[in-house]
């Protein structure tokens, strides 16, 4: 029973991805493009040389953390749609500390990372508190928190961090995660040390969920708050804690962009989508840290490789977006495949 279940949870995402690729190929065929050249370009764009590999990993890094943010909340039965807002405030906080503080790297970099985590944690704390104390649904509050994050961040960039400019100055070297060494082995890609931090945090989150009393309580509260209360757990505390940790992870995803990839923050006309894509990453990764890491790399690969499709295969950007969206759609709606597989299995053996 459990071994077939395990096989199932590995099989479903793989089938989802394959179906997505096939659907993308059909779209390309119908629009008069050669899917083989199209996908070859996608592959080259993601893994063609050292530079693209570096960029692919670089792009995957924040997805790992935003995916973990959503997945962690899911384990406590909370739907954190607010990862997007947490990414934005984390990004802002990291850059803010990176610009305004002067300190040696051993202090400055951890401080900037911590600021990002705290900002995200605050953005998770508010919906967590409202949910725990007043029963306000976290989905509504986190959506609103996303807009608050987006517009107040833009305001701060324009009027506090700069004098009516759209981009802040660069952070000090001492707060940067950029790596000459990683850049040099990947032909000057923007690959930075953040990937190591993200992977390390994934391990910590795995440990937290599966091996600590905190994780035991969070999951229990998520599965059954009544039994948790009966067992003497503080249900409100656990809901708030789950949202705070989830938010902190979202904030760290923002730090990856602020301290690693860009080293600054710009006024945004719309959402970065790192947090929203985190929802799909978490679902595809079945809310487990290992699954999230793998799913994050898949997302990073698709998004990075897509950049090569217009130039390498002549497919218009709009169509590329459609193809990538379809692949993600299939991946995210993997429950349809689960349903089909169960039905198929049921029809045969039952």
């Amino acid at each position: 029973m459990s071994s077939s279940h395990r096989l199932f949870s590995v099989l479903i995402p793989i089938i989802s991805v394959l179906l997505g690729l096939i659907a993308g190929a059909v779209i390309m065929l119908l629009s008069g493009y050669n899917p083989i050249t199209g996908y070859a370009a996608l592959w080259r764009g993601a893994f063609g040389d050292a530079y693209t590999i570096g960029e692919t990993i670089r792009r995957s890094t924040p997805y790992i953390l935003s995916g973990l943010a959503v997945a962690f909340a899911f384990r406590a039965n909370l739907f954190n749609i607010g990862a997007e807002g947490q990414v934005i405030v984390g990004w802002l906080a990291a850059v803010w500390v990176g610009i305004s503080v002067e300190a040696p790297m051993v202090i400055h970099l951890p401080l900037a990372i911590l600021a990002a985590a705290l900002a995200g944690a605050l953005w998770g704390f508010i919906p967590g508190l409202l949910k725990a104390k007043l029963g306000v649904h976290e989905v509504i509050v986190t959506i609103m928190m996303n807009y608050i994050a987006l517009y107040s961040t833009n305001e701060i960039i324009r009027n506090v961090l700069t004098d009516h400019k759209t981009t802040t100055e660069s952070i000090h070297e001492s707060a940067s995660m950029a790596s000459e060494w990683l850049g040099s082995i990947t032909f000057f890609s923007r690959l930075h040390y953040g990937i190591l931090l993200a992977l390390f945090i994934a391990i910590i989150i795995w440990f937290l969920i599966d091996r600590t009393t905190i994780g035991y309580e969070l999951k229990a509260v998520g599965f059954n708050p009544h039994a948790s209360k009966y067992a003497g757990m503080n249900v409100s505390k656990n809901i708030i804690l789950a949202m705070v940790i989830s938010g902190a992870l979202g904030g760290l995803a923002g730090a990856m962009e602020g301290l690693g990839t860009y080293g600054n923050i710009s006024v945004m006309s719309g959402f970065s989508n790192i947090g929203f894509d985190g929802i799909a990453v978490a679902l595809l990764g079945a809310n487990t840290p290992l699954g999230v890491v793998i799913a994050a790399f898949l997302f990073g690969t698709l998004k990075e490789g897509a950049g090569e499709m217009p130039t390498g295969a002549g497919i218009p950007t709009e169509l590329v977006d459609v193809i990538i969206a379809i692949i993600i759609f299939f991946v995210a709606s993997s429950y349809i495949i689960r349903w089909a597989l169960l039905r198929f299995k049921g029809g045969k053996s039952k």
């Binding site: 029973m1 459990s2 077939s4 091996r211 600590t212 009393t213 905190i214 035991y216 999951k219 229990a220 599965f223 059954n224 009544h226 039994a227 948790s228 209360k229 009966y230 067992a231 003497g232 757990m233 503080n234 053996s349 039952k350």
Partner: protein, 509 residues
């Protein structure tokens, strides 16, 4: 004799287990045929095979002598088989008529639903079988017993000749059970045939003509109820002799463990549910709270265990005030609680049975240290517990959800008893369980008493209260209205007290 349904040598496998192995069930027209077996014996699987939800690996199904295949429930319906589910499938805001015709609505010429016609038809059906159902009432406004009758009407309206009742009395009051028995009798009198899935021997003896017994997936045989007795059926079902009378020595109560003074508890609507309740409980005795559901039993337990705040009054445990402390404090000061709703409160169903065994102790040594779980210790403890309390599970890594009710309950009891609480509260500890599990649980409660613990038993089953308690406290309208010895009272007197007719103290006669 003509059989209306024959299930011959049915075998149904699931990955890793054989749920039905060579089971034969032959139902004659116009009989009530009981299907008896412990929880998890394979009764529901067999009925799901008949109802077309599962396909058997081996065996034949014949209906009125003709071999048939039943690929899905619609075919079962067309063959005249109707199921009265244990958990009702009704739309609460809809009326009785709307529920019954759902999916089979009679239409007028203009295509509108002909409610008038349907109502008339349902009224006729209801009268014919003595169901006394009002077709215009809304489901949410009628009692559970009435809702069950709506389920029965639903199958009749669809032309069922054979009715399968799945544990129909589990949700009913004693009064409603008697009425249901009457209804079943009038159904067979009108030519219907009934399969009654149950593990309650009393009901079989009362109403069934034949009884087919299943034990751990295997067909054991069929008996004429007239030629057998409850003891034989019980031992056929469980596979060993069953002791119906609870063995126990007289209690030797010692110091007071629980003392409740002038307790008031309000519900969410701010209505007093407990009104000045007084109760004393001593070490080494079992006090049974008898009462009709809804007279404050739930609130009393929740107040003692800290799940609900009290309005006023005090609760002392070993002379220490535990009023309105949080549940963990109360648990730690020596209270064990077997909750009434084991799925809602007793277990985290999506946790493995191993994880559930440390639900209140996971934060303590040796199960964790500095916040890090010691899985090895947890699993070792869980393994130990499932052997000690005979919890039948494929492994400690099986989800609690997958276990049968009896095994879930045994796991909870093991967990609560093993902490050696001074006060053990058992709320409806045997509800929905079969005789084997009931016997086991009663023995454990008495064992705990003999170890010098105070046991508070809350049950709606008078038989259980009479058998197990050393002292009976009758609860009515938020108060203890009588305090009696079981040997000095009887079910009639208790029934009257539970209905609030008089009050009485122990010793008075």
């Amino acid at each position: 004799m003509e059989y209306i349904i024959e299930m011959l040598n049915i075998r149904k496998e699931f990955p890793g287990i054989v749920a039905n192995d060579n089971i034969t069930l032959q139902l004659q027209k116009g009989e009530i045929h009981a299907l008896l077996g412990e929880n998890g014996a394979g009764k529901s699987t067999l009925m799901n095979v008949l109802f077309g939800l599962y396909q058997p690996e081996k065996g034949k199904i014949r209906i009125r002598g003709k071999e048939v295949k039943i690929p899905d429930p619609n075919v079962a319906n067309d063959l005249g088989i109707g199921m009265v589910h244990q958990h009702f499938m009704l739309v609460e805001p809809f009326t009785v008529t709307q529920n019954i015709i759902l999916g089979k609505e009679p239409k007028t010429i203009t295509g509108r639903i002909d409610l008038k016609k349907a109502e008339k038809e349902i009224r006729e059906l209801s009268d014919r079988y003595g169901l006394k159902v009002d077709p215009t009432a809304k489901i949410r406004d009628i009692s559970v017993g009435m809702q069950q009758r709506v389920e029965i009407l639903k199958t009749l309206y669809r032309g069922a000749e054979v009715l399968i009742f799945d544990e129909p009395t589990a949700v009913l009051t004693p009064q409603e059970i008697n009425e249901l028995m009457e209804i079943m009798r009038s159904l067979v009198k009108e030519g219907k045939s009934i399969i009654l899935i149950t593990h309650k021997l009393k009901e079989i003896m009362q109403v069934a003509d034949k009884c087919t017994i299943i034990r751990r997936g295997k067909g054991i045989g069929t008996r004429n109820v007239a030629d057998t007795n409850a003891n034989e059926l019980a031992s056929l079902m469980v596979g060993r002799e069953i002791n119906f009378k609870v063995d126990k020595h007289p209690a030797t109560p010692k110091e007071t463990v629980l003392e409740i003074k002038d307790l008031y508890v309000r519900d969410k609507r701010k209505i007093d549910m407990i009104k000045g309740l007084e109760l004393n409980l001593r070490a080494g005795e079992i006090v049974g709270i008898a009462g009709i559901d809804g007279n404050g039993q739930t609130e009393l337990i929740e107040a003692i265990t800290g799940l609900t705040k009290t309005h006023s009054g005090t609760i002392l445990l070993n002379n220490k005030d535990i009023t309105n402390k949080n549940p963990r404090k109360i648990t730690e000061s020596g209270v064990g609680h077997i909750p009434q709703d084991r799925h809602k409160f007793g277990l985290v169903l999506d946790y493995t049975i191993g994880e559930n065994m440390v639900l209140q102790t996971y934060y303590k040594k040796p199960y964790s240290k500095a916040g890090i779980l010691n899985l090895k210790e947890i699993y070792r403890y869980a393994k130990n517990m499932i052997t000690q309390f005979d919890v039948r599970t494929p492994s400690i890594h099986t989800k609690a959800r997958a276990l049968s009710g009896g095994n879930q309950q045994k796991a909870i009891i093991g967990r609560e008893v093993d902490r050696s609480p001074d006060l053990l509260i058992a709320a409806q500890p045997t509800r929905g369980l079969d005789v084997g599990a009931i016997e086991f649980i009663h023995q454990k409660l008495i064992e705990e008493r003999d170890k010098g613990r105070a046991v508070l038993l809350v049950s709606f089953e008078l038989e259980e209260i009479m058998d197990v308690s050393d002292r009976i406290a009758v609860m009515f309208d938020g108060r203890i209205v009588a305090d009696l010895k079981p040997e000095e009272t009887n079910e009639q007197e208790l029934g009257l007290l539970m209905a609030g007719s008089s009050t009485k103290k122990a010793g008075e006669n």
